[in-house]
Each structure stands twice: as C-alpha cells, then as structure tokens.
C-alpha cells in the first residue's frame, strides 16, 4: 500500500513537472526557432539562442526540420503557425517570399557593423533578401577517407571522376544540384560557364553522360547530411560529397582521417526567415536582428566551420571551442579554399529543379 502511494505521488509530481515545463516552453515569451539539427543546430544554440535568452529573457525553443516549405504551407493552410523563425535555403526563401509564406524584413532594421557600416553594405552580396536575412555561407565538397588510399589521393574534381586512377566506391547526394555542375567541371567546362552550358539541352545531356561514367562506382546516394561522415567512417565508401561542416566536425571531435577536397567547392548560404502568421513576430524579428549581428555570426563560426554572411564578422572569427584550431583557416571562405569556388545559381535551380529532378530520378532508376 505504501509503495502504491509513493508511486502515486511520484507520478503526480512527474506530471506536474512536465506540465510546468510545458507551460514555460509554450508561454508567450518563448519563440520556436527551426533549423536543420545536428552540429549545425548546436552551433546556433550556443552562439544565438543562449546569449539571446540571457540578454532578453525570451526562451528559445529549438526544433529540427528537413528543409522545404511543406510544413510551413501546412501550418498556414490550417491557420496554426507554430514556428517563429526558420533557417531556410535561398531557393526556399525566394519561393516562400513570392508565394507569401514569409514576412518581409527591412534590411534597415538590421544592426550595423561594429565600425558603423550599414547592414546593406556589410552582408555578402545576395545574402539579404526581401523576406530573409543571410546567416552563414556553407559549401558542398568532396571528402575522402585517407585510410582507404595508398599512394596517390584525389585532389581535384577531375580526380574524383577518374575511376581508372581511383576505383574506390563513392557516395553522391541524391539530387541533381551540384552533381550536374561537377560533372561539367570534370568534363572540362570552365567554372564560369557551368550554368550557361546547363541552360541548354545539350549541356544537360553532357552532364548526365559524364555522370554515367561514375554511376557504377557510386554505391550510395545519400539524402541526409549526417550520412556522409558515417559512410566514410564505416568504410562503405571511400569518397563522398558532404556538407563541409559535417566533415570538419568528424575530424575535430572524433579524430577521423577525413580530408576535404576544396577544388571547385559549390557554396551557398542559409538565411533566417519569419513565417507569416507567427504568433510572436516582434520577438522573432528581435532574434533575427540579434543572431545576424557581426559578433553572433562570428561566434557561431567557433562551433562549426561555416563562414559568416557579414564581411565585418570575418576578422572577429576566433578559435574552435574545443580543439582551438584557428577557424579562419577552416571556413569555406578562407582564401586558400575559395579561389575556384562556384556559387550555386539559385535562379537556375528555381527554374529547372522540377524537370531536372524528374530527369535525375529517371536516370537514377535506369
């Protein structure tokens, strides 16, 4: 009997605690910030969420999603928008803005750089949009597991496509983006002309023809950003495409023998957007202003190797929080990595992703 009562009290206590925690998290002074999870979300929690809560008292609840506008569309269709700030890709930012899913954000409301340069001039060109504010520059790169190579190692995109020299298994992302660009680079198209060539039917044919040559050597087509480091670590593949931050993280925190091939990295950026219908637009905007200040952006680079979207944040970038590596040398924007980088052409992909996705799927299935 006594144990029963104890059990009851314990349960009641637990329920009460859960309820209390629930109300705290869902109170009016809390905002929900949605991002991509993993080490990336951790960098935002450390550099943006915690300092923001310390400064304003507003609780930031962190949620994960897999990108795309489907969830925001569903929330707005049912008039129940529960997200306040979303970390989006440029293609979704453009599309979401045009289709009315996001609030407009006036760049004049963003904080100036420490030296007084207005935000409009401080952000890297193109990272300020009508409805979204850029936060980090990241890139998709090839990376390999050094243990799987004896002697020569792949150094360029052409090497990666050279299956005679490197017959090891590869993994590529299961989407046409980047793969078509790299196929053309490997086929000898200069970086500046890649999208010009891809705009023609012949150019697309040429890219797919080049991809044909490595298709038998690609044993995995990955879909989630966490997969590539796992595939390299388990020995499933020797070379893979990956988000640069994920590989950096595996090298720093798990001492993996992974090497990034920076040749022709394809870079793009993430942005913060505020869904229309958010219950806390004012707080959401405050969060965006705080998180995209030069200092916060520079701080986030201490947690993950993504470059800040503000020029004034670059000199403020410090050391890695754990291993004290100088992060300035690890970012995609480091001069040694950036000389032949390709910027993913958002306009091209906004126009052609529907047909190229279909063609890519048909090609994969063959």
């Amino acid at each position: 009997m006594k144990t029963k009562i104890h059990l009851l009290t314990a349960t009641a206590g637990a329920v009460f605690l859960a309820l209390a925690a629930g109300t705290a998290a869902f109170g009016s002074e809390a905002i929900k910030v949605v991002s991509w999870g993993g080490a990336y979300t951790k960098s935002q929690v450390e550099a943006f969420h915690k300092p923001f809560t310390a400064k304003t008292g507003v609780v930031v609840q962190s949620l994960d999603y897999n990108g795309g506008l489907a969830e925001i569309k569903a929330q707005q269709d049912t008039k129940n928008v529960s997200w306040d700030v979303v970390d989006v890709l440029p293609s979704d930012a453009i599309r979401g803005c045009a289709e009315g899913y996001f609030e407009k954000i006036d760049p004049a409301m963003l904080p100036a750089a420490p030296d007084g340069t207005p935000a409009v001039k401080d952000f890297v060109e193109g990272t300020l949009m009508e409805c979204a504010v850029g936060n980090i520059l990241w890139s998709t790169v090839f990376a390999y597991n050094a243990q799987q190579f004896k002697g020569a190692v792949p150094k360029t995109i052409a090497d990666v496509f050279d299956v005679k020299k490197f017959p090891q298994k590869r993994a590529l992302q299961k989407r046409p983006q980047n793969n078509l660009e790299w196929a053309l680079i490997a086929d000898g198209v200069p970086a500046n002309d890649v999208y010009k060539v891809l705009r023609t039917k012949e150019g697309v044919d040429r890219a797919f023809k080049k991809l044909d040559t490595i298709k038998p050597f690609v044993s995995v087509w990955w879909t989630a950003g966490a997969q590539p480091p796992e595939l390299l670590a388990s020995g499933e593949v020797a070379i893979t495409t990956a988000y640069n931050g994920r590989i950096f993280d595996a090298v720093q925190s798990e001492n993996k023998p992974f090497v990034i091939i920076w040749d022709h990295q394809v870079w793009q950026y993430d942005l913060f957007a505020i869904p229309k219908g958010s219950r806390n637009v004012k707080r959401a905007l405050e969060f965006v202003q705080f998180a995209t200040s030069s200092k916060a952006l520079a701080d986030s680079a201490s947690w993950i190797s993504y470059g800040p979207a503000r020029k004034s944040a670059m000199p403020l970038v410090g050391k890695h929080w754990k291993t004290s590596v100088d992060m300035k040398t690890q970012l995609p924007t480091a001069p040694a990595h950036f000389n032949n980088a390709i910027q993913q052409n958002i306009q091209f992909w906004a126009d052609h992703q529907d047909e190229l996705n279909q063609r890519f799927s048909a090609w994969l299935a063959k």
Partner: protein, 417 residues
C-alpha cells in the same frame, strides 16, 4: 375462460409486438451510439483525407483564378502559332493585377511543373510589363523574353487552364499535353512513373511471396506444437513489432552493408574475397530483405489463426486412407489454409505497395518505390496535385486487386485472425 384468453391474447400480442419493436429500436439506437465514435473517427481520419486526395488530384484552380482573362482569351487558340495580340493584352491585365494582389508566386510555381523556366519567366514579366503603358503588348512581351514567342510556353498555360483537370493524371502516366492539346509521351529521359508503378507491383509481389515462403513453416510450427511453446513463438514473431521501424531498418543497413556482418562472415568463411564484397543494401535487394522482415508478422498471424483451427487428424486420416505425406499435405492441409494465405498475402501486398520509409533508407538507387515519389511531391516539390494523382492511381490499383480477390477467392473467406 378460453374466449377471454383469446381476446387477451390478441391485445397482448399487439402490445408485445410494440414492446419488442421499441426495445429493438432502443438497442439499435444504443448500438449506433456505441459505434458513433468509430464512425466519426473513420470519417475524419479516412473518408475526408482520401476524399481530399481524390479532389486535389483533379482540382487545379491556381492558374485559372489568377490568369482569368488570359485563360479565357486562350480558348480559341489553335496551338499551331503563337497567340495573337488579344491574348497578350489579357495576359498583361492579369499580370498587373497579380502583382498588385501578390498572387503570381503560386502561378509561377504551378506553370514551372509543366515547363522548366516558367517560374522566372512569370516573375520577370510581372516586374517588367507594368512599364508598358501603351502600344501593342505582343511585341512588349517578346521584348521582355523571347520565350513568350514559343508555343511550348502557351501550351503550359493551356494545360493549367481548366479548374477541373485530368492534367495531373496525364503527368502521372509519363504523358503531357502538347500545344494542340493532344496527349503525348514525354521525352524518354523524363519517363519515370510507369516504370515505378511496375517496379512497385513487382517488388510488392516478391515481398509477398518471400513472406509466404518464410511465414508458412513458422505458422505451421506454431500451430503444431503445444500451447506453451506456441506462445513463446508468438512472442518471438511479435517482438520485432515492439521495436521502432527506423531502428529495424537501420539494423539492416548494419547487417547488410559492405563492411557489415554478412559480408565479413562470408569473407571469414572464404566464400568471397576482399574485393568481392556483395552489395546487399542501398539497392533493390536491401528493399526486399528489409521489407520482408518488417511485414512477416502480417503473414504469420492470419496463417496461424487459420492453421490453429485445422485438426491434425485430417492429415492422419488422409494418410491412413493411403495418401502419401506429400499428397495429404497438398490435397488436405493446404486447401484448408487458403483463407489464411489469402488474408496474409493481401495484407502484406497492400502494406508493401504503399511503403516509403524503408525503401528511402535502404533502397538506394534501384529500390525506390512509387511511395517515395508521392512523398517527394508532397514534401519537396509541393506538387500536391500530382501527388494526389499518383496516390489515387495506387488506390485504384488496390481496389482492383481487392475486386479480383473477391471474384476468385471470395472476400467472405478472408480470415484476419
């Protein structure tokens, strides 16, 4: 006394009948009230979503609502040449209005599904056509972008010019409307859905066959051994049910991958060399193996429930009458298990045909099923009309299968447990 009893009987009978009717009605109402929550549940979670799926697969209001004038003016277009000035003038009116009301985004997205590049074409034209205040609109549009002078552009607009449309179904079977409004096959390197439907049916059949092959002996064993052993076996069959689907699927990756358990074992046994590691996952093999394991209980349970009711004496009787063990199994036991085989197979097949999480994780390039593409159009491309059409075709296929089953085996013989 006798007569009195007679009149009493008549009155009594009438009253009794009334009473009976009342009580029958009362129990009917009670019964209805009891199933009401279930009915409401089915309505909300089954009838409404499926109704909405079917509706979305034919309902395409986006372009009609915004480019109203253009669509009307395009009615008389023959599809051979670029339309004339009235159509362009109507387009200008529509686009200016769409810019004011901020409604051009969804139109650009919808048209882009049918023709790549329409997204930027619409966005650009919306921005620039306002500057044209007088003169002819046709040259103005051609000035903004020469693509307005291509029939393909106008064919895309016309494809979306009906509020209730078959266009999504046309796309779902690898076809499109050309500029004359005829249904034609899409380019060979864009064809995908028909192959996927065929593959989905093929893979689901293979999984069903595999489940039957593996499940039949297990169910037989469970039915044949004493209850305490069969309970243990039942738990063993159900145990995977209590483990998360994602965990089970991921364990298959661990077991089947190139550096995984099976490959290591085969190398250790000397059956394959270091270079001969088998590709067992991230392809169709992976999909079939993982899905067969996940769906196996749905085969075993109906089989077991049927086999439990077949007396073992039947086999003994057949054998004592001179039939060989094989013959008595084939002619006596097997026919008695048919309701279980039918139920298990139909259950596994229907579940398999709509699966998408497992193929997504272990299917790689060649093991993707139609469900993956429905999910893609729901979550990524936001082409919900096409997702609805693909889903409806799948639904129609399953209903057809159910009908065939009813004709051949009889649905009343279905025994689910």
């Amino acid at each position: 006394m006798k007569g009195g009893q007679g009149t009493f009987e008549v009155a009594d009978q009438a009253q009794l009948q009334l009473k009976l009717r009342l009580s029958a009605r009362r129990s009917k109402v009670t019964a209805f009230c009891l199933v009401l929550p279930l009915l409401a549940f089915i309505l909300v979670t089954f009838v409404l979503p499926i109704g909405s799926l079917l509706y979305r697969s034919v309902y395409n209001p986006t372009v009609v609502d915004v480019l109203t004038e253009t669509v009307a003016a395009l009615q008389s277009w023959d599809g051979d040449d670029v339309p004339d000035e009235p159509v362009f003038a109507a387009l200008a009116v529509d686009l200016v209005k769409a810019r004011q009301e901020q409604t051009f985004g969804p139109v650009a997205a919808q048209l882009n599904f049918d023709l790549g590049g329409m997204r930027s074409l619409i966005t650009k034209s919306v921005r620039e056509i306002e500057k044209t205040s007088e003169g002819l609109y046709k040259p103005a549009f051609l000035e903004i972008d020469p693509r307005w002078g291509e029939t393909a552009t106008w064919a895309a607009v016309r494809t979306n010019s009906q509020r209730y449309t078959a266009a999504f179904y046309v796309t779902a079977v690898d076809r499109r409307f050309d500029s004359r409004g005829q249904v034609v096959l899409v380019d060979e390197d864009l064809r995908i859905y028909i192959n996927l439907f065929v593959r989905t049916i093929w893979v689901s059949s293979a999984i069903t066959a595999l489940c039957l092959l593996l499940g039949f002996p297990i169910a037989y064993l469970m039915a044949a051994v004493p209850t305490r052993y069969s309970n243990f076996l039942l738990i063993a069959v159900l145990l995977p049910f209590w483990t998360s689907l994602l965990v089970r699927t991921t364990s298959w990756v661990v077991i089947l991958q190139r550096e995984g358990v099976i490959n290591e074992l085969l190398i250790w046994l000397g059956l394959i060399g270091e270079d001969g590691r088998l590709a067992l996952v991230h392809n169709m093999t992976g999909t079939i193996v993982a899905m067969a394991q996940i769906l196996l209980p749905f085969m075993v349970l109906p089989l077991f429930s049927v086999m439990k009711t077949i007396p073992l004496n039947y086999m003994h009787a057949a054998q004592s009458l001179g039939a060989s063990p094989e013959k008595s199994f084939l002619t006596v036991y097997l026919p008695n298990t048919l309701p279980g085989i039918g139920a298990g197979s139909i259950l596994v097949f229907i579940l398999a045909i709509g699966y998408y999480i497992t193929p997504e994780l272990v299917g790689g390039r060649t093991g993707q099923l139609i469900g993956n593409f429905i999910a893609y159009h729901m979550q990524s491309s936001l082409n919900w009309g096409l997702a609805g059409a693909l889903g409806s075709i799948l639904l129609a296929g399953i209903l057809a299968l159910y009908f065939v089953y009813d004709r051949i085996v009889g649905i009343e013989k279905l025994k689910l447990g």
